[in-house]
């Protein structure tokens, strides 16, 4: 009893909903030949309203209307929907070539009226209508035919067929040079079949593919025809295959104003960037985590690998990338996190420039810059930290201890080398040496005339020396030897002075030379007197006193003569 109660309650709770009330009019074909019979249907959903027969606009009714009814109940998410479809079918034909319009069907539901679309029928000569293309075709459409480079747009591939497709066999995408495309429903396993009326003809439609695309270059880009192969049922046992190509889709791509900027990476949409750093103050060798997060909507797939301008004193590793984006019809949305690890190898205060990039803001049609602040990192020295591991051999020891004593301080001015004294001392021995050598050379290379002059100069000296011997003889009382010496001295003196031989020496000749030599008469007389005294002395002895006197006179005379000659 209790069970029955629950069941009744359950039944009562089921909502008995009805689908929308609609009226539609369709034809089997809107391009027919004259006198060809075609079908016209009025399809009414879920109603019990009055439906008026439309004006066929000159077409004649060959048969009908036949009515039929179908019911279907569907339960989606516990929601039960009942559909009742009422169909009236007419057979129509045109008698003449031309254009006919079947007016819309009016449905009146107690004051609330609905009118279906009017249908245009083109009637041509018999045999000129090919129906194949009309019955199965594909359309490639886009939501935007003109976009900016990098701006997302959606492309839809829709299949139209007169009969209900049984199964989907293959899909081949056409070439799309310069376009990045991403399937919006990559995990799709089943296709939903819908009914659509195109120009009055009723088609089964299937959206085979929806994709979001980004043009990657400016100018005109195109999606080449897509290919699809579907299977249809002819009857219960037989299937047939239909292979179809879509149209070519052309997209006009506009260049982004200011896209030549260096910082512009080609991003289009809305973006923001944030950063995190694990520490700003570390020791050498400590790892620092830097996280750069780029959040936004647009062509995020173009972001690629970003780079931090890390100083060379840091070891840098490739960032770990965490992609948290999803594909939607308006582009790729979400965030991408880049986790950098840098390790300082040298102490100091360093600046890692904050990451920045430019993007094109689609809303404002303007370039914008997203950036994070610079990272300023203070790196301290670490005791026992070796900069280069190869050098550890040395690092285990300490430096050598200081010197207790100094071998001597000096200043720059203390250098003896380079002073004038030094140059003088170095060069003087050589100069002195060369001076002596010069003198010596001079003496050795003497000429006859110079020799004569020298001899003449020496004459008096030689005579004086000789006279000393004479005087000594005199003192010892050797008068004869003294006299002889005196004569020799005198002769030698004149020989040297006049440069003549002994044979040329006579009293007269000497007196003549003396006269021409401008010697005073007094001296000449003195000479004669001495000469005579010597001549005399050779024959008769001279008194010792007189001899001494003569010697002295001779000495005086020679000195006098030497001055004059």
């Amino acid at each position: 009893m209790k069970r029955i109660g629950v069941f009744i309650l359950f039944v009562c709770c089921i909502q008995l909903g009805f689908g929308q009330k609609t009226v539609q009019s369709t034809v089997s074909s809107n391009q027919v030949a004259a006198m060809e019979v075609f079908e016209f249907q009025i399809i009414v959903n879920n109603n019990d309203c009055n439906v008026l027969q439309p004006d066929f606009g000159g077409l004649t009714v060959a048969g009908g209307p036949q009515s039929s009814q179908s019911n279907n109940i569907s339960i989606v998410n516990g929601q039960r929907t009942q559909n009742t479809e009422l169909i009236w079918t007419y057979q129509l034909r045109a008698k003449e070539v031309g254009s006919y319009i079947i007016s819309g069907v009016t449905m009146d539901c107690g004051g609330e009226t609905q009118v279906s679309e009017p249908i245009e029928i083109t009637v041509s000569e018999e045999g000129q209508v090919s129906k194949v293309d009309q019955d199965y075709y594909m359309r490639l459409t886009t939501n935007k035919s003109s976009v900016y480079q990098g701006e997302p747009f959606t492309v839809t591939l829709k299949y139209y067929s007169k009969s209900r497709p049984d199964s989907f066999e293959a899909l081949d995408l056409g070439d799309a040079v310069g376009i990045y495309r991403q399937d919006l429903k990559p995990d799709r396993t089943s296709f939903q079949t819908n009914m659509e009326s195109i120009n009055g003809v009723r088609y089964y439609t299937i959206v085979l593919r929806e994709e979001v695309c980004f043009a990657q270059r400016s100018g005109e880009v195109k999606l080449e025809p897509y290919y699809a192969s579907l299977l249809f049922r002819r009857d219960f046992f037989n299937q047939f295959r239909k292979e179809t190509y879509s149209n070519t889709l052309y997209i006009d791509v506009k260049k982004i104003p200011g896209s030549s900027s260096l910082d512009f990476t080609g991003l289009v949409g809305e973006f923001s960037v944030t950063s995190e750093i694990s520490s700003n103050h570390v020791l050498m060798g400590d790892a620092i985590d830097i996280k750069i997060t780029i959040d936004g909507k647009g062509n995020m797939q173009d972001l690629g690998l970003i780079e931090l301008d890390v100083p060379e004193e840091f070891d840098q590793y490739d960032p770990e990338i965490e992609d948290k984006t999803s594909v939607s019809s308006t582009g790729i949305k979400g965030k991408i996190e880049y986790n950098f690890v840098v390790i300082p190898k040298h102490y100091g205060k360093y600046t890692i420039p904050g990451y920045s990039f430019q993007y094109f803001d689609l809303k404002n049609k303007k370039m914008k810059t997203a950036q994070v602040d610079d990272f300023i990192i203070q790196v301290d020295k670490r005791e026992s930290m070796e900069i280069d591991p190869i050098k550890t051999e040395l690092a285990n020891t300490d430096i050598q201890y200081i010197e207790e004593n100094s071998s001597g301080f000096f200043e720059q001015d203390d250098f003896f080398f380079g002073t004038w004294t030094y140059y003088g001392l170095v060069s003087s021995p050589l100069l002195i040496s060369f001076f002596f050598i010069f003198i010596r050379q001079k003496k050795e290379n003497i000429s006859d005339e110079e020799l004569l002059v020298l001899q003449q100069k020496k004459a008096v000296k030689n005579a004086q020396t000789a006279l000393k011997v004479v005087k000594a003889n005199l003192e010892q009382g050797k008068d004869a030897e003294a006299l002889k010496g005196l004569q020799t001295t005198l002769n030698k003196f004149f020989m040297e002075k006049f440069n003549v031989g002994l044979s040329d020496l006579s009293q007269r000749k000497i007196a003549e030379r003396l006269t021409t030599g401008n010697v005073e008469n007094e001296s000449i007389e003195k000479f004669n007197k001495i000469w005579n005294a010597i001549e005399m002395g050779q024959y008769a002895p001279i008194a010792h006193e007189n001899l001494v006197l003569t010697v002295n006179d001779t000495e005086g005379l020679l000195i006098e003569l030497d001055k004059k000659l």
Partner: protein
């Protein structure tokens, strides 16, 4: 006159005493790990334009202990400039260089280093006095050559003179090179943490590459506050404040 002489002698002694005592005080502070004081004492001696291998060597140690790598390298380079054969300075320079970032091939060829170590380690004045002695010997040899009549003596004195002349020129050249090596400032060391090497002497010029503390560079030319440096055939401009000339 005698008083004046004594006064001058006293002044010299006092100056020597002052620099010596600063040096000694620096050593004491260093021994007590008071590196700040050691630095200021050593700097006093450097400031008085006095130099010695040991002074710069100790200064380098002090800078190293104070964690000033660039300055330490500068000081060791200075010490080795005066005495290239100083092994402690060589060791410490190598040690500190291992803590720098830029690993550049700055080593000179083996023969140059060998010559520097063996010839520049004598003082310049040593070569100066020796050259004067050789000038005397040369003078005597030349005198013999020009005056003697004996062919044998002439030949010997000629070859002896040539030998002596060659040695004399070599010594003067060596002394000259050594002096210019000490006085000329052809190199420098980066003393800031790092420096941008720019293509022209301006803050806005593009940066070609980066050099880090302790890197030894060649000095090429200067313009106002900028100086052109060369490293491994690359050249560029850096600010004068970021380098210390060796």
């Amino acid at each position: 006159m005698k008083v004046l002489f004594l006064f001058i002698a006293f002044i010299f002694t006092a100056a020597t005493f002052a620099q010596d005592s600063s040096f000694v005080r620096g050593n004491e502070a260093y021994a007590n790990s008071d590196f700040e004081t050691a630095l200021s004492e050593y700097t006093k001696v450097v400031g008085s334009e006095q130099m010695s291998t040991e002074l710069y060597y100790n200064l380098g140690n002090t800078y190293f202990k104070l964690d000033q790598i660039g300055e330490a390298i500068w000081a060791y380079e200075k010490a080795l400039k005066i005495d290239p054969s100083n092994q402690n300075a060589q060791f410490n320079l190598k040690f500190v260089n291992s803590k720098t970032y830029d690993d550049l091939d700055t080593a000179e060829s083996g023969i140059v280093t060998w010559l520097k170590i063996n010839l520049f380690s004598f003082s310049i004045n040593f070569w100066a006095y020796l050259s004067i002695l050789f000038a005397f010997i040369l003078a005597i040899a030349l005198y013999f050559f020009f005056t003697t009549k004996k062919q044998k003596v002439k030949n010997r004195s000629l070859s002896f003179s040539f030998g002596t002349l060659f040695l004399l020129v070599f010594m003067i050249l060596l002394a000259y090179l050594n002096k210019s090596n000490i006085i000329d400032r052809a190199h420098a060391v980066i003393v800031t943490e790092f420096v941008e090497v720019r293509s022209s002497p301006s803050d806005t010029a593009p940066s070609g590459f980066k050099l880090h503390e302790g890197t030894k560079v060649d000095l090429l030319r200067s313009s106002d506050d900028w100086i052109e440096v060369g490293v491994n055939e690359n050249t560029g401009w850096v600010e004068k404040t970021s380098i210390w000339e060796i």
